[in-house]
Structures are given as structure tokens and as C-alpha cells.
């Protein structure tokens, strides 16, 4: 079962619909402010591993415009803008979504905030991607991350360590024996990357596993949570190479360590 304080997003790509949700330990009024005030959005929307929000302007009334700019980790800039359609603090916010990387398309986002005894259930509905499967799926992954950042912003700063085991599955079972020169270079960069994370204390141990069915890689991460674990594997040179590697990340709820 998905833990409710963990952000999740799912898509019905055929219908062009993304739904995402997370439970946040603060009342709807505070969550609504966090979603709309420049000071708040600039703080929580982004992370050093992915991108940072560099500006946020919002004329918070029906028909009012909003505009956000950000910078990706490699310096590339991007913008998203749109218009507020419904503004009903602290329960509902509907706006159009026009990212510069998806021009000229316009889609629509609805945030619904429901009070719970423990805080707020935030539900996101993003619609209008009909017949555009790829962008629908990238937004699904994106919203998982964004709602995760938002929820993390409401958690106490000193998050306890969480342990995750990851498996790196190569593009083919024979990879360790027949990798190309280019793939070999990627593997060297991959090894250096995790050595750096070892020095940072983010990974406890890692390395290849000999398996008669085909070798694969394993590691144990010590991080703040799944968001950070996913960020670490997403920034791995093997992921960036786009060469068909895939990661499995599995929680170790009762890890014992030195």
C-alpha cells in the first residue's frame, strides 16, 4: 500500500489525465499559501539535483496571470505560465498550464485541498494531454517529485535516515562481458559517481553482483527518503546516458548498520 504522506501520481495516458495526491501535516490554509505565494514557491519548488525556481509571479484572482521561471541543473532556463480560472482559498485552485517546452499546448490543473484530522489531503488533477502520451507521462513523474518537495517542506528539517536497496539492471544480460567502449566509459563515470556518494555518506556500499543469469549492480543508500533516493539514481551517469539501464529502488524499513 502506498504510504499516504508520500506523493504519488498516476496517469491515464489515453484520456490525457494525470492524478496526483499527497497528505501534508498542515491545515489547508497553509498549504494553499504555499502553492500560491512567491516566497513559498521559490523555497520549496525545486531541488539542487534537478532544477530551481528562479522567479514566481501570481495575480491570484480569476482571470489573473501567473508565471514561473526556473533553471535546470545544467543551467538551461525554462518557463511556465498560465491563467487562474477558479480561486477558492483554501479549498480549490484551477489554472491553465502553458510550459515553454510544450508550446503551443495549454492544459489545465486543479488543486483540491481537503482538511483531514492530521492536516490536508492535496489532490492534483492535470488534464488535457489527450493523445500526447509522452508529455502526459513526464508530467506524471514530474508531479510526483513536485508534490514530494511540497510535503517535505512541511516536515521537520532533520529528517531521519532511511535505507534503500537499489538494483541497477544493465541493458542486456551479457553486458558485463560485451559492453562497448562508449558503455565502458559510462561505467567508469558511474563508478566515480557512487564513490563520491560513498564519501558523502549517501551510499553505504555498492558494486556489481555476479549472477549466472547476467550480472547487475547493487547498492544500499542512506538518504532522507524516497525522493532523495530517486534523485540520486536519476543523476547517475548511466541514467543520463539513456542507454537502457534501469533502477529498482526498494525500501529497507528495518536496516541494521554499523
Amino acid at each position: 500500500m502506498t504510504a499516504k504522506n508520500e506523493a504519488i501520481a498516476v496517469a491515464d495516458a489515453e484520456q490525457g489525465l494525470v492524478l496526483a495526491s499527497v497528505e501534508i501535516g498542515a491545515p489547508p490554509e497553509r498549504v494553499f499559501t504555499a502553492l500560491t505565494s512567491s516566497e513559498d514557491v521559490m523555497r520549496w519548488w525545486g531541488s539542487d539535483d534537478f532544477h530551481r525556481t528562479t522567479s514566481w509571479e501570481a495575480d491570484l484572482r480569476p482571470g489573473g496571470k501567473w508565471r514561473s521561471a526556473g533553471k535546470m541543473v545544467d543551467g538551461r532556463a525554462f518557463q511556465v505560465h498560465g491563467e487562474y480560472i477558479e480561486v477558492e482559498p483554501p479549498r480549490k485552485l484551477v489554472f491553465t498550464w502553458r510550459p515553454d517546452w510544450d508550446a503551443p499546448y495549454e492544459t489545465r490543473v486543479t488543486y483540491t485541498l481537503e482538511p483531514l484530522e492530521t492536516g490536508t489531503r492535496l489532490t492534483l488533477r492535470h488534464e488535457g494531454f489527450a493523445n500526447r502520451t509522452a508529455i502526459c507521462r513526464t508530467h506524471t513523474q514530474g508531479w510526483t517529485r513536485v508534490l514530494g518537495w511540497l510535503a517535505a517542506d512541511f516536515r521537520p528539517a532533520a529528517a531521519p535516515s532511511a535505507y534503500f536497496l537499489f538494483r541497477l539492471l544493465p541493458p542486456r544480460p551479457t553486458f558485463i562481458k560485451d559492453m562497448t567502449a562508449a558503455e565502458h566509459e559510462v561505467m567508469i563515470a558511474h563508478s566515480q559517481y557512487w564513490r563520491g556518494k560513498l564519501a558523502d555518506g549517501k551510499v553505504v556500499a555498492f558494486g556489481p553482483v555476479t549472477d549466472p543469469a547476467g550480472s547487475w549492480g547493487v547498492g544500499i543508500m542512506r538518504v532522507s527518503g524516497l525522493v532523495e533516493a530517486e534523485a540520486l539514481t536519476a543523476s547517475d551517469p548511466v541514467t543520463l546516458s539513456g542507454n537502457g539501464f534501469s533502477f529498482e529502488i526498494l525500501p529497507m524499513p528495518q536496516a541494521v548498520h554499523a
Partner: protein, 175 residues
């Protein structure tokens, strides 16, 4: 937010994991839920498990209930029905009609339970989509018709994660 194909490779996105736990999200206000999972079998296999009396073998678990007495006239406007048998011996009837069948990719069907704790006897519409991915078949379930019954949408979303888990377990042991 994430970008599309034109900026590649998108370093901000992890590659899709080989194994994805069943996940579901409800939009109570919008009256819709979506559940997804990736199952390591072909779409034909899943289609059969969803539409034949095989449901009696996997839909349910000790401590919950079992689906029994499955009947289905697998054609557009065909009827289906099932008896839900709970651990305490009580039963509930489920039934509906097929709206669209595109084997093995899509099934649209209505569903109504005689008594549902949060839904009463409200009919919902369920759409199953089965799409191939590099790691198996992605099953997407969309259930609609919860308007005004938001709690039922949240309850059913949580339950769909369980149901897709049962399906995954069954299929991975019956290849």
C-alpha cells in the same frame, strides 16, 4: 516540471523502474480514480484473467473476500455478474454491463454492487487499458462515477492497489 522529447536525454527523470508497485490516486471532487501497475506478462494473459472465470482464482484474499460464481457474456451490451463472499460468510452481489471490448487492449464496463459501504448501490464505469512497455504490460484502471461520493473514490483507490497486487501475484505464479 518535466520537458518532452525535444530536450533529450531528460536528466531530471529516472528511467522507468522495472518493477512498479500498484499505485492508485482518487480525485474525490472530480469523481474519478486511476490505478496502474506493470505486470510481467503479455496483455492477452491479463485480458483473460480479467474477463474469464479466472477471476475466481485471484480476485480476493484470505481475510477479505473471494469472488465466486462469475458469469460474463463478453460482448458489447453483454451482462456480467459475480458473488462476493466475505470471510464471515456474508455475500454481496456485483454486476454490470460491457460497454466496449477491444481485446486484448481495452475493456469498458459498468459495475454496481448491491451494497457497498461507501458507494451504496451507485453504478460506476470502469475502463481497463493494457499497453505494452519494455518491462511488461502496463494496466491502467480508470473508475468514474463517484461524484458526491468522494470518500468512496478514496476507499476504492486504496482497494485497487490491493486488487492489482493480487492480480500481479497470481499472474507471476501462473505463467
Amino acid at each position: 516540471m518535466e520537458t518532452e522529447e525535444k530536450i533529450k536525454p531528460d536528466f531530471r527523470l529516472p528511467k522507468e523502474s522495472k518493477w512498479v508497485a500498484p499505485r492508485a490516486v482518487a480525485d474525490g471532487g472530480g469523481g474519478t480514480l486511476i490505478a496502474t501497475a506493470i505486470l510481467d506478462v503479455p496483455a492477452e494473459r491479463i485480458f483473460r484473467a480479467l474477463t474469464s472465470d479466472e477471476v475466481e482464482r485471484w480476485w480476493g484474499a484470505p481475510g477479505f473476500y473471494r469472488w465466486t460464481d462469475w458469469h460474463a457474456d463478453l460482448q458489447v451490451c453483454g451482462q456480467w455478474s459475480v458473488i462476493v463472499r466475505f470471510t464471515d460468510g456474508s455475500t454481496n452481489g456485483g454486476s454490470g454491463e460491457f460497454i466496449e471490448i477491444d481485446a486484448p487492449k481495452k475493456i469498458v464496463m459498468t459495475r454496481r454492487l448491491e451494497k457497498h459501504p461507501l458507494l451504496g448501490s451507485r453504478e460506476t464505469t470502469i475502463t481497463y487499458r493494457l499497453d505494452p512497455t519494455p518491462h511488461g504490460t502496463r494496466i491502467t484502471v480508470r473508475e468514474e462515477g463517484f461524484a458526491g461520493r468522494g470518500e468512496a473514490a478514496y476507499g476504492n483507490a486504496e482497494h485497487w492497489e490491493r486488487v492489482l497486487g493480487w492480480l500481479d501475484t497470481y499472474l507471476s505464479h501462473s505463467k
